[in-house]
């Protein structure tokens, strides 16, 4: 019995150390929230609604979008390394397990990142501008959409990471992907702010379904939107899931041909 207590204690202390470290990194997110709160306040000055968002909705949108995007645990490097030094060969026997293994590993980290980020940010925002009219009944659906968004993000990231079978280092692609999430993914501002033509394009690309859609549903829930987003997320997940699978299989074959 004592042994389990020790394990629990170590994990608890570990998470404290992790929390300390995390706090430093969270400063960036809090800073962005603070700056954008000031910026939006200036933009709104007096206005009630902009494109259907109130001031506080806009800030809470940002928090949600940021929490999703920044919670992504970096496994690109890890996969790169595993591919480069052939470690992946050892994990070949159960092909789909390699991908699922990374999925499970990164997801647990991601949930912790997301939760901590969101809670920290929420405290700050509530203090700065208060809350908004959150529909409690949407919680379940929201969690579902969040899960799908993170899954989609995972598959896109994984495809990029697995390109290291061919490229020496797919970090630059990862970087471009991040930038796309920031902009047309709607992380910084909702797509409603874009000029119409850009918003239309962004609205079909997968990136906006990772940041924009979940964040918008969070602050402005509607069942119609929910079903739309749900359907498209599932579609993209299937598409990128297949892409990941194909890249993986091709890459493994290449590895075998080249002798690893």
């Amino acid at each position: 019995m004592k042994k389990y207590f020790e394990i629990a204690k170590i994990n608890f202390l570990n998470s404290f150390a992790y929390f300390g470290e995390f706090f430093f990194h969270a400063i960036f997110i809090l800073l962005i929230l603070f700056i954008f709160t000031n910026m939006w306040k200036a933009v709104y000055s007096g206005k009630e609604l902009i494109e259907g968002f109130t001031l506080s909705m806009m800030i809470w949108y940002l928090l949600m979008a940021e929490s999703i995007v920044t919670s992504s645990p970096g496994f690109v490097k890890e996969v790169n390394t595993e591919v480069q030094n052939g470690e992946i060969a050892y994990k070949l026997n159960k092909p789909y397990n390699y991908i699922l293994y990374h999925f499970a590993k990164s997801f647990s980290r991601r949930i912790i990142n997301f939760t901590l980020t969101f809670i920290l940010g929420a405290v700050l925002i509530y203090f700065l501008i208060g809350g908004f009219d959150f529909k409690i009944y949407s919680l379940f659906f929201l969690v579902l959409i969040l899960f799908l968004a993170m899954t989609l993000d995972f598959f896109i990231s994984m495809s990029i990471a697995l390109l290291s079978f061919w490229l020496e280092d797919s970090n630059s692609l990862r970087w471009i992907y991040d930038k796309l999430l920031f902009t047309i993914g709607g992380m910084l501002v909702p797509l409603e702010i874009f000029p119409t033509w850009l918003a239309k394009i962004a609205g079909v690309l997968p990136f906006s379904f990772i940041a924009y859609s979940p964040a918008k549903l969070f602050v402005r829930f509607s069942f119609v939107d929910f079903f739309n987003v749900f359907a498209i997320q599932i579609s993209y997940i299937i598409i990128f899931g297949c892409i990941t699978w194909i890249i993986y299989k091709r890459g493994v074959r290449r590895l075998n041909v080249n002798g690893g």
């Binding site: 404290f16 150390a17 300390g20 706090f23």
Partner: protein
Amino acid sequence: MKERDVIEVNHLNKTFKIKHKAAGFLGSVKSLFKPNITEIKAVDNISFNIKQGEIVAFIGPNGAGKSTTIKILTGILFPTSGQVKIAGFVPWEERTKLSYKIGSVFGQKPQLWYHLPAIDTFNLFSKIYELDEREYKSRLNYLVKIFEINDLLDIPVRRLSLGQRMKCEIVASLLHRPEILLLDEPTIGLDIIAKQKIRELIRELNKKEKVTILLTSHDTQDIENLCKRIIIINHGRIVYDGEVESLNKEYLKSKIISVKFENPFKSFSLSGVKILKSEEYFASFEIDLTKISVKEFIDFIIKKCSILDINISGTPIEEVITKIYQQK
């Protein structure tokens, strides 16, 4: 002409106040308000003088106060009490002026820029030490010739072998004609031939230019080959300061004798004799000269067994030094 003292150390003391803090963020916060301070006496009343042109080994186990002393000599640390004069300067007060007189080579911390050819670092040093252009060029040529690194000058340092790199490091430290050279592990990681070459060069340098050399090295061959004098420091104090030769004599109280037998070896016990290793037809012994003489041991062993071959060797200097380290 009497050679002057180029390094004078008098009653040097250094005590550190160390704050103990617990790991992590909370620990740091706590130590701000309630610090837990202990005092450590790193250097305890050290005195020694070194004359110009001497090559002195300065060794001690890790944590003995060696690097603290070196830091004080180079002016990076100032002492709690005591006097030091290097080339006429008080190190921590006139560090800049002193830096022109001292050169240093740290085996583990290279000064050459890794990805550039050595010549670029040399040129940089010439500007750092504000060397006159013409003098620098002639000095460089001279050193390049002696150290035979002409072909290596334009190759990026990271592509040089360790031995080649070391030669370049030493050249870099000599460009400004220092009076004193600090060598810390100069032959570490080198193969036998490279080691010998480096030692040769150092000896030659010392002979030609009368550079005073302070060598800190865990390689006892370096010490035996280069140094006449050795200072051993332990627990912050000098435990030996004298000739390397005398070291053996003073601490040589044992000999190692290995014997090959005709018949299978049967163990025995004899006062003053320790069996180091034993196989079926072979054994090696360490005999304590205070308890039994070499003659006595040989007489004994011949009577006991039939001997094919016998080998008598002194205790390697490493063991002598280790013994000294272990004292107190």
